[in-house]
Symmetry: C2
Subunit: 189 residues, 2 copies
DNA sequence: GACCAAATATGATTTCAATCATATGTATAT
DNA sequence: ATATACATATGATTGAAATCATATTTGGTC
């Protein structure tokens, strides 16, 4: 779901684009044209260090934006590549900047959107820092991080192996901390 | 170092405040008055879940801002408490919002600041997800995350025990991937 | 220079998640 | 109804970080 604030932009500021697996979206040093929203699929954002190592910046998945910093920079800071078949919305930089300049409410909504994202990432860092798989899974479920009903995706999202995640879920149910009400569906007790 | 953009605010929009260890800075549901910058010390941001568990949102340390989302909300979303003696700058919400409304450049700079923070947190998530302590330490050093010269702080920052961190540093030096040029000082080869 | 607290270093042991291996269940397409 | 790909589940083993225990070094203060 594209964040509501972007609907305030002119219609031609939003452009759907499809990418095949392994296709390049943009490269580091390309001139920036906008930020992106992921409708479906997954995008890998990477950079190369001076000594040639590959630095993973982020993998952006469904319902996430990426390349926000591109709004404020002439060049993209990294390479973006589709990990799988991917559908994106390109949100035009010039349109965003123009809207920010002319509509203070839009500018404020954009800052608010970014501030919310900061909050989300901070919490994710805390969760990922939890050593115990059981406690990490419990925290993630509590935070609503199980979005669909695929446990394997939750596992990847919180940095656990899928096996450890299944086990933790089973333990938590056994310990009466969670209820499993359907396949891939749990609630906190 | 307070981000430059906040210097564009009127002087009375910035207020230094000191807190003793364990002192409350704000509580969840308090009316928001602004965001904060940490000059020194550490602040714990926590919330309580419906069933009484304590949820750690973030620990904010030196040179970080926190409570950014307060700019866009009537109430604080969590409790903030000083973990140790702490010196903060309170950045006045009304002044920030007024400046955003009247100065599009300021609004843009604030969004840019937040976008940079998003980038930093995303990268930190990736680093923290690296299983191998050696590779995690290497990535963190490469990203300039060793800010002072206290390895123990780096360890806490990247989610490793201090022992594992010292060991990894020693391994990386032995493997010729890092050079130690002083106590607590390393560079990538 | 002496003292002290904290950081760093290192050895040994424990813990538990990752990994490997296999089996079962399930949603989807035909 | 059947076939298939993928998710889920579970047992066994491995590996490496956490933890525990000590020792040494170092920076700051007096």
């Amino acid at each position: 779901m594209l964040p509501k604030l972007f609907h305030d932009l002119p219609a031609n500021a939003l452009k759907n684009i499809n990418f095949q697996k392994s296709e390049t979206i943009f490269r580091q040093y390309d001139e920036t044209c906008g930020l992106y929203f992921v409708i479906s699929g997954k995008v890998s954002l990477k950079r190369h260090s001076p000594n040639g190592d590959e630095i993973i910046i982020h993998n952006a998945g469904k319902n996430e934006t990426f390349a926000e910093a591109a709004l404020f920079s002439k060049e993209y800071h990294c390479d973006a590549t589709a990990i799988e078949t991917t559908q994106l919305v390109l949100i035009n930089k010039a349109a965003v900047l123009a809207q920010m300049a002319s509509n203070p409410i839009f500018a404020m909504n954009l800052s608010a959107q970014f501030a919310r994202q900061i909050q989300i990432y901070r919490r994710r860092l805390e969760i990922q820092a939890i050593q115990s798989a059981d406690e990490r899974v419990y925290a993630a479920i509590g935070d609503g991080m199980l979005q669909g009903n695929i446990i394997k995706e939750l596992a990847a999202h919180i940095g656990l192996s899928h096996e450890a995640t299944y086990r933790s879920l089973a333990n938590l149910v056994k310990r009466n901390k969670l209820t499993k009400f359907a396949r891939g569906k749990y609630i906190i007790k």
